[in-house]
């Protein structure tokens, strides 16, 4: 069995832990530099505020009611690390999927006990961090995602939903679920599936895998197998979670060398930036993570992550790599042998939307065009002359950039001078 653990409105939940008065109020988190909504509480969603909405275009009535905060990436990164440290107590097999989503494998566990185990996991995360999470457990990742969605939307599950491949409840859920709500099924694929008479997830599960492969792709065929309860998809094949893009890899052998980590992160970062440009997005922050091998019980264990905000939404490899190196500098510790590291680009925004932004940190039009042209040349060279024809060295940290973060809350867990204050008296 495998579980998908997903935090509810993660950024907002982090803010609420340290500012309990925000509980029950409409709360939004803004990107620091372009003032767009990157996270919403349920109450803010209920007011009709869309993901990515620019603050200055919100109706005044909503701006008055809602609490809108700058994104506090230091806090979110630390709380994400805490949540994952707790997950690791429940199984050594934890895979980071995004800043607020992780897969936890329960291979070798008694299947009958997994559900109770997941309830304890959820309660422990809530107790120790204050972050509410939903847990979906199933034999495959695709079904775990379906289960997670049900766990969050249907109160009867009390936050944990288990789906067995052959259970009537699974069938009932899949029959109500549109095929396009299945992980990895794009809207356009959905339109073509509809032409074949496949509208629901259940119909997709019952489709002939051969036929699906011929008409679509191997990946969609694998999704059919996954819906039937046969694991067929690795994390890397799953496409991208909402709003994030990740490149990570395990080392062929464990390494304690900081230079090796830096080189690997440079490569991952460059690759992620290239993907970002290919899909026409900009990132607002860069998450860097490193970890040792949790299955080697005798080795000292360490895992950490750090989120570094970018000065403005960017797809420039140089800016992304500089942020990644700053993240590594903050979390690298001597004395451990690392197995894996990765770069995740967070809070993506459509490149076309950049023009809308009024609050963007200043970058001259000329500098921007220069960056765009440089990146286009790099991408073309790497495409036409082979991967890694052009690579990036270590970019200089440009500390002259200043983030716009007027509504920034304290970095409660990472700065001595910004601890949560408790009034006594």
């Amino acid at each position: 069995m495998i579980a998908l653990i997903d935090a509810n409105s993660f950024y907002v939940s982090c803010e609420r832990v340290f500012a309990p008065r925000l509980e029950g109020r409409p709360v939004g988190v803004l990107s620091n530099n372009d003032g767009c909504i990157v996270a919403r509480s349920e109450e803010l969603k209920a007011l009709g505020v869309a993901m990515g909405a620019p603050r200055h275009l919100l109706p005044p009535a909503i701006r008055r009611q809602a609490v809108l905060l700058s994104s506090n990436y230091a806090l979110y990164g630390d709380m994400s690390r805490r949540v994952n440290a707790i997950l690791a107590e429940f199984s050594p097999d934890v895979e980071v999927y995004s800043i607020d989503e992780s897969f936890v494998g329960f291979g070798g566990f008694d299947p009958a006990a997994v559900e109770g185990h997941c309830h304890r996991l959820r309660e422990t995360v809530r107790r120790d961090t204050g972050i509410p999470v939903g847990v979906g457990v199933a034999p495959t990742r695709v079904l775990a995602k379906v289960a997670n969605r049900a766990a969050k939307r249907m109160p009867a599950y009390e936050g944990v939903c288990r789906l067995d491949a052959e259970a009537p409840a699974t069938r009932a859920l899949l029959e109500r679920l549109p095929a396009t709500a299945v992980w990895g099924v794009a809207r356009r694929t959905g339109e073509r599936l509809a032409l074949m008479g496949i509208h629901t997830a259940w119909q997709l599960r019952e489709a002939d895998p051969e036929r699906i492969r011929r008409a679509f792709s191997v990946v969609l065929e694998r999704i059919v197998w996954e819906l039937r309860g046969h694991p067929a998809i690795a994390l890397e094949d799953l496409g991208e979670a909402r709003q994030r893009l990740m490149v990570s890899r395990s080392f062929s052998r464990l390494t304690g060398e900081r230079d090796e980590l830096a080189a690997a992160l440079r490569q991952h970062g460059a690759q992620a930036a290239e993907k970002l440009r290919r899909q026409g997005s900009l990132a607002r922050a860069v998450l860097v993570f490193v970890r040792t091998n949790p299955f080697l019980r005798d080795e000292p264990q360490y895992a950490n992550r750090r989120v570094v905000p970018l000065a403005r939404p960017s797809d420039d490899s140089r800016e992304i790599l500089a942020a990644a190196q700053r993240g590594l500098a903050a979390i690298h510790r001597e004395g451990y042998r690392y197995q894996k590291c990765g770069v995740m680009l967070l809070d993506l925004v459509d490149r076309e939307r950049r023009q809308l932004s009024l609050l963007e940190a200043t970058q001259g039009e000329a500098a921007r065009q220069c960056s765009d042209r440089l990146m286009a040349v790099v991408d073309r060279l790497n495409r036409e002359m082979g991967r890694d024809t052009v690579r990036f060295g270590l970019p200089r940290d440009n500390s002259a950039w200043r983030l716009r973060c007027e509504r920034l809350t304290s970095r409660y867990t990472t700065r001595w001078d910004e601890l949560m204050r408790v009034r006594i008296g």
């Binding site: 309990p20 008065r21 925000l22 509980e23 805490r82 949540v83 440290a85 707790i86 422990t124 107790r127 120790d128 961090t129 204050g130 409660y412 867990t413 001595w416 601890l419 949560m420 204050r421 408790v422 009034r423 006594i424 008296g425």
Partner: protein
């Protein structure tokens, strides 16, 4: 630290560096004349104060006290409190508790079948836990109080 410290051991030890802090030599030695102690074989043990104070890292938070209503419990204005969210809020424990959305610190006292929130300063009247808009945030396990000369 307000919690029971270990008796001074006849060792000179070096504190392991805390993230974000410099290395502080922690002097735990008693000067003795005479023959060298066999304990000297164990020189260079790293003592990490963090390990001593933080039992469950993922659940432990540091918060800053503001105010003087808990002086009787050894909490002064500006002290750093070590708060463990994983501990149960049992009677007798000092807790961080959000009352009407504002985090504050009180001791839990069981009295006459109900749990009261009590400040150590008698000027503040106890509040019954039941019926007040509050939830326990975590249990205070240690107080970091700087004496003159000790401030960072």
């Amino acid at each position: 630290m307000s919690s029971a410290a270990r008796p001074p051991s006849p060792l000179i030890v070096r504190a392991a560096p805390l993230p974000g802090c410099g290395v502080q030599p922690l002097l735990g030695c008693r000067v003795r004349a005479g023959f060298p102690s066999p304990a000297d074989d164990h020189l260079d043990v790293d003592l990490n104060l963090h390990d001593h104070v933080v039992r469950r890292p993922a659940a432990t938070y540091f918060v800053r006290a503001e105010g003087d209503s808990m002086l009787g419990d050894g909490i002064h204005d500006r002290d750093i409190l070590v708060v463990d969210r994983s501990l149960e809020p049992l009677p007798g424990r000092v807790v961080v508790i959000a009352v009407d959305g504002e985090p504050t610190v009180k001791r839990l006292v069981r009295e006459g079948g109900q749990t009261l929130l009590v400040a150590s300063n008698p000027r503040f009247a106890p509040i019954p836990l039941a019926g007040c808009e509050c939830h326990v945030w975590g249990v205070v396990t240690h107080v970091v109080h700087a004496l003159p000369g000790g401030q960072a």
